[in-house]
Symmetry: C2
């Protein structure tokens, strides 16, 4: 159980210059994206760096939903800069890109595929020391500030994959809810759905003592350990916050209580899934994002088509939990109750349907696109979506219920239309 | 919010040799106490060290309820040994002693008082790098495997104090519930009371945003930050486990489910109070232990009189929470409900009395000594007990309700007899 240090509070971003001084940093790499570079979170960081006289270079070319190419561009910047500390200000795309930049700049002789998850890459363990990385999340979703995972879109294979190692976990996450006030509605919604699925998937993931293989040497164990008594605490707590605050946070940008709570829930769920792992919603989301056709979501100011990560994850969630519930129906029913279902007269064998219905209602209330069809997919795409899911065994094998290609096919089909 | 890494599972102690290899350790210091050195937890560690060919020296002279003298003895051993890693197998006494040994061996030019909490010591921040320390707790109480605190009895002043710094937090805590099967009944009870008070005190501690002074530089902040949304999660979760399992764990040594859950609760409460802090029960406990007369508790195989830490903490708890409840009665009532009180018709202004009654009943059911009088104190001792509490401001100032010397005096008096 590896947990990042986090600091929480309105305005705590102003301390980042002192943190860097305390770390002895002399050349800092500040990463963000083009939109954020003009917004208050980056300004707050710049002010603090200036106040403390911190020498830094800014890289603001992070791509939203990064690719191998965009990772490599950031890595080149990091290698040239010879930095001794990193600061990432943004959502998961920025924080993940910064983790990769820190990793490969610290390991200059490694080929890019060395650390990429197998079977796509070689999945080598990280044994080089990295530089400190302070993450300042500006969305309430990814939890990347607490995890050792960095996800990107591997263009050549048209599939999302990533790097997973405790070594790339940020040194400190600064959870400053003021930053969430800059988020447009759909970004709040989609990043919130990521929190929802992190909580649901890590709570229902294969238990830690049923996972295999179970390497005898602790250093060889994966970052994702299966559900366990500690990740369960984080997952359930995050789920309760999502149930109470996500709708409020989406509907009213001025609802500071709701946005602050979702910002914390994101970190809580991150600590949960960062240790337990996620399973089918995430495993199936990578081809949904990777194979995007022309979908351009509202509120995302980007020049390329994309399916936001949280949306790609949540659209299959009703089908996934209807499928997995037969293994641990009690937990599925408990999750449904937390999300508002009346389970007083529920039968345990209906747990999957009840959770699926609860999720559908939740998504309908929040104006979420009506399934994969609404974001451009048809039945003809299912074989490609299944093919893109198969290499995601790092997560799919954490599903409590094993799945065949036919099962995956049926799950994609059931997710074409939700309402 | 600084959180230790922990590993949980029956039998995970056998991996410690590999952990030390992975850390590159070549000369390991193994600390424990005389009783434990013959018991299964130490044997499990020795087996693993032998299997991995780890070179180590054993120090088994840790004193139960350590003193400045016993700390210094362990420090001398550590300084001579030039170790590159430490393993502590035991309860809080062993883990705390090992933290101090690691600290002063890593900082050989420091005087002992340099790092001791002010106003007794100088409370200097730790800036030297320490060696890795793996803690293997054998009681379910201290949570020391997750905290940056080491407590000892300062003989000259007849008062308990300690060292508090994130720098001394163990690198890894190995929570192996098999070890709790070696615990005699009263050790289960008293260490469980420590968990109970960690949870109650950290949940009711002054909130983090009301604490003062609040140093502007993060490095100057104390380990104990006040109650906060993250420590609250751990405190409540630990309290629920205590309510469900402590009595079972005490009464039946074979109840592995109960003992395993209490072992985890100890770490959970440790993560909570290690960040939030404790307040009056702990502040008042230090003179209760430090001024001990002739009390020798059942089940403790020691050659000196002592008041076990958990007992010294819990005996004042009814009086303390009756006193503090007026500041945040909702939380006090919530705690009472978790501990089994029926609060359906309770009035909020009675929260303190209800929690106090619930605690008294809980202690009575567990055959706990009937107050301070039963462990050898009388009214004549109250001035000395108050005097011994005054220097504990590191914790007493985290009480939600400020207290005068008269208040402390009344709290000790109310704790003379419980039933």
């Amino acid at each position: 159980m590896a947990i990042s240090n986090i600091r929480y509070g309105e305005g705590v971003t102003k301390e980042i210059g002192m943190d860097l001084q305390n770390l002895g940093a002399r050349r800092v790499c500040l990463m963000t994206d083009k939109n954020l570079s003009q917004l208050p979170p980056v300004k707050a960081v710049l002010n603090s760096l200036a106040k403390c006289g911190i020498n830094f270079q800014m890289y603001d070319s992070v791509r939203v939903e990064p690719t191998d190419q965009s990772f490599l561009d950031a890595i080149t910047f990091a290698q040239k800069g010879e930095f001794d500390a990193y600061v990432a200000v943004g959502g998961g795309s920025v924080i993940d890109t910064c983790k990769a930049a820190n990793l490969y700049a610290s390991s200059p002789t490694s080929a890019f595929l060395d650390y990429v998850n197998s079977p796509i890459g070689k999945g080598k363990p990280v044994s080089v020391p990295l530089k400190p990385l302070i993450a300042v999340p500006t969305t309430a979703g990814t939890g990347s500030e607490t995890t050792g995972v960095a996800i990107f879109d591997f263009k050549e294979l048209k599939v999302k994959t990533g790097i997973a190692s405790r070594a790339i976990k940020p040194t400190l996450g600064i959870i400053d809810p003021l930053h969430t006030l800059s988020m447009p509605e759909r970004i709040v919604a989609n990043s919130g759905f990521d929190v929802l699925c992190h909580a649901l998937e890590s709570y229902t993931a294969l238990p830690y003592n049923m996972r295999s293989p179970c390497p005898s040497n602790p250093i060889s164990r994966p970052a994702y350990q299966g559900s366990n008594p500690i990740s369960d605490v984080w997952a359930l707590h995050a789920l309760r916050i999502v149930a109470k605050y996500l709708k409020r946070a989406i509907r009213n940008p001025e609802d500071r209580e709701a946005r602050a709570n979702m910002h914390l829930a994101s970190a809580f769920a991150g600590i949960g899934f960062g240790n337990a792992g996620v399973h089918l919603c995430h495993g199936m989301s990578y081809p949904i994002s990777g194979l995007v056709k022309t979908y351009k979501p509202k509120d995302y100011n980007v020049d390329h088509s994309l399916v936001p990560h949280g949306l790609s994850v949540v659209l299959t969630s009703p089908a996934v939990f209807a499928f997995t519930a037969q293994i641990n129906p009690e937990r599925h029913l408990e999750a449904a109750e937390i999300l508002g279902a009346d389970i007083r007269t529920a039968r345990i064998k209906d747990a999957g349907f009840i959770l699926a219905d609860t999720l559908r209602k939740f998504l309908f209330d929040l104006n979420v696109d009506d399934g994969l069809a609404a974001i451009g997919y048809s039945k003809a795409d299912i074989p490609a979506l299944v093919k893109g899911t198969l290499p995601q065994e790092r997560v799919t094998k954490l599903s409590p219920r094993p799945q065949t290609e036919e099962d995956l096919s049926a799950l994609f089909e059931a997710s074409m239309k939700l309402y």
